[in-house]
């Protein structure tokens, strides 16, 4: 056994009155893993995290940390520390005393505490700011103090509730890389809650996608993107064109299907979907489509249509293309190679797609 499970959650349910905030949560997290819980606001992510931290009891199931059942272990005795969404920096203490807060409970010498505080602040690049007042910190610095204050406790698990959502875009992206680097260096398990798909994808080893209190899929970011288990997961992560398809045959892990607009295509079977029947839902990511004025060479499926919308996004250009028999225009995204928008509204265009770009999303709901 190389890596052990540090957190094991099985059959956990949390109710507020009759409202079920989290239902049948099953999750195993490995030591040293960066795990993100991703989902829309109100889906129960924070509640799940707070149950692990011990701020909320669970009504059913068990939560184990390091093999130990947490049922009767209060929050202050759990081997997990938390970075709060609001950062919760103690306003009456300076930076050094904030970071030292938890250490004062341990039997350490004064010098020992000071050393660990200095080391933790160094780690989050706030070296030497011990005597800075908490009220004089910028948003990014508060975030770092919150991180240092939790990491200085050397927890087995660090829980982070939307740790970057209060920061502006540039700072957020810088912190994403920094937190990832820190996590890999320390080898601590990070469990992060976020509603930002990009944040989850750039930082995590694995992502759990949650909707309405239920964990729908747990996978590596690439797998989640390429093989979403359902329409809602596919729609939540990245852009996706949904097309009706009719299965005509199945062999060797491939589906023969007639895909709306594109004609007959061979689609890899997606083992993550729950059921599949003759009525299939096919998905194509906007950036996997080729768009061209002439019919492009070497594609497995084609569609002839008209541009209804062209938008310049900087790093790429987005088009909407309609064709007869499509309920929804097809979204296409192409990298911005030459700083030009090649197709205008009303232009006739060809779309090309490869078999491998079409995703099996299971039975289509009527």
């Amino acid at each position: 056994m190389t890596t052990q499970n540090i957190i094991e959650i099985s059959g956990v349910e949390k109710r507020f009155g009759t409202f079920v905030a989290v239902r049948d949560l099953n999750l195993e997290l490995k030591e040293g893993e960066f795990f993100s819980l991703l989902g829309p606001s109100g889906c129960g992510k924070t509640t799940a995290l707070r149950m692990i931290a011990g701020f909320q009891d669970h009504d059913e199931g068990t939560i184990r940390i390091g093999g130990q059942d947490m049922a009767h272990i209060p929050a202050n005795k759990r081997p997990a520390n938390m970075v709060f969404q609001s950062y919760a920096i103690f306003p009456h203490l300076n930076v050094g005393d904030n970071v030292a807060f938890g250490l004062r409970k341990l039997k350490l010498t004064k010098a020992g505490i000071n050393d660990r505080v200095a080391e933790a602040l160094e780690m989050v690049e706030l070296g030497g700011l011990q005597s800075r007042k908490a009220t004089e910190l910028s948003g990014g610095q508060r975030q770092r103090v919150a991180l240092a204050r939790a990491l200085v406790m050397r927890p087995k698990v660090l829980l982070l509730d939307e740790p970057l959502s209060a920061l502006d875009k540039n700072l957020r992206e810088a912190m994403q890389f920094e937190m990832r680097r820190l996590q890999q260096k320390l080898g601590i398990t990070f469990v992060m809650v976020t509603h930002d798909q990009y944040e989850a994808m750039t930082m995590s080893d694995r992502i759990g996608v949650m909707f309405k209190g239920q964990l729908k899929q747990v996978d590596k970011p690439e797998v989640l993107y390429a093989r979403p288990c359902s329409r809602e997961v596919a729609a939540f992560i990245g852009g996706m064109n949904f097309l009706d398809a009719a299965v005509t045959g199945e062999a060797d892990g491939k589906l023969q299907a007639q895909v709306q607009g594109f004609g007959p295509l061979t689609i890899d079977v997606n083992s993550n979907v729950a059921q599949r029947g003759p009525q299939l839902l096919a998905g194509i990511r906007p950036e996997q489509l080729e768009i061209s004025a002439q019919k492009p060479e070497g594609y497995d499926g084609y569609l002839q249509g008209t541009v209804t919308n062209a938008a310049f996004y900087g790093e790429n250009v987005h088009y909407h293309v309609t064709a007869d028999g499509l309920q929804q225009p097809i979204a296409v995204s192409v990298p911005n190679y030459f700083h030009t928008v090649d197709h205008k509204q009303g232009d006739p265009v060809w779309l090309g797609v490869q078999n491998a770009s079409v995703i099996d999303l299971g039975t289509r709901e009527a």
């Binding site: 931290a53 701020f55 202050n76 030292a100 204050r149």
Partner: protein, 287 residues
């Protein structure tokens, strides 16, 4: 003139003018008169207006003045301590343990619906020789004769005032508790604190401003209270305000009365500032 009113400073001045005028007439002017009187002398029929420190010398040397001043500060300190100590748990309960905050705050203010004099008299009825307390104790057979130490002493003054001041202590402490971000408390728990440690390391230091406000609101007027000690204090419970009243009344020595008032004000100010400095410093030491 119209131009001045358009500037920020001008607007501020215009807005604060009525209050400034009011304060000027009703506080500064009488205070000035008081200061003037304190340097004059009362002869039998009129005021001798030659300036002299004689009144201050008398106030400084008279053992009765010192005794009453110290007793007033001690009683006010006891009232403040008792009120804050009783108010804190109530404020805590309203801030953290109930969802019916408005109802509780309303209940807290109910004593104000009756006059203060009425409430002092009620305490007299409760604590008196034939009062409610003694009747109850007698009828239950707990005592065989009425207790006399209940009324007409410092204890009665402290009890009456602590009851009267309670809302003034509860409200500022409640406000400072209410302002505490709940995630700070969770962060303290997360970092290993038990509930009690969390209280002393986070809640208490964050409510020190509320405690200081409550203490000053109670301490300052209590030192100079005149009504309560005269009604329930007896001779042991007399305070400096009673002496001042005697100077302005029966003794007819306004200059000495003015001096005593100013000395009392200065002492109160000194003690209050000392208290604020100490409490703030103490709060800073908690880590």
């Amino acid at each position: 003139m119209a131009g001045i009113l358009k500037t920020e400073a001008g607007k501020g001045l215009a807005l604060s003018a009525p209050a400034s005028l009011y304060v000027g007439l009703l506080v500064a002017a009488p205070l000035g008169i008081l200061v003037a009187y304190s340097f004059w002398t009362q002869t039998y029929v009129e005021i001798d207006k030659t300036l002299t420190w004689a009144n201050y010398a008398e106030a400084a040397t008279d053992p009765l003045v010192r005794h009453l001043m110290l007793r007033s500060i001690a009683i006010a300190g006891a009232v403040t301590a008792a009120t804050v100590a009783l108010a804190y748990p109530i404020a805590y309960f309203i801030a953290f343990r109930t969802h019916k905050k408005t109802l509780w705050l309303l209940l807290i203010t109910i004593p104000f619906w009756s006059s203060y004099l009425l409430r002092v008299f009620s305490w007299k009825l409760i604590l008196g020789f034939n009062g409610v307390m003694n009747s109850a104790l007698l009828s239950m057979g707990i005592v065989t004769e009425p207790l006399t130490f209940l009324l007409y002493n410092e204890f009665a003054v402290v009890l009456t005032l602590a009851h009267a001041w309670a809302p003034f202590a509860i409200l500022p402490i409640y406000v400072s508790l209410q302002k505490i971000d709940r995630s700070l408390l969770e962060a303290a728990t997360d970092l290993g604190c038990s509930k009690l440690e969390r209280f002393f390391r986070v809640t208490l230091p964050l409510t020190i401003p509320g405690i200081i406000a409550a203490s000053l609101i109670i301490f300052i007027p209590t030192v100079g209270d005149y009504v309560t000690p005269s009604l329930v204090g007896g001779s042991q419970g007399k305070m400096v305000a009673n002496l001042i009243q005697v100077q302005f009344g029966p003794a007819n020595n306004w200059p000495l009365g003015a001096t005593l008032s100013l000395v009392a004000m200065a002492s109160v100010g000194f003690v209050a500032i000392l208290f604020v400095i100490l409490a703030t410093a103490l709060g800073r030491r908690i880590r």
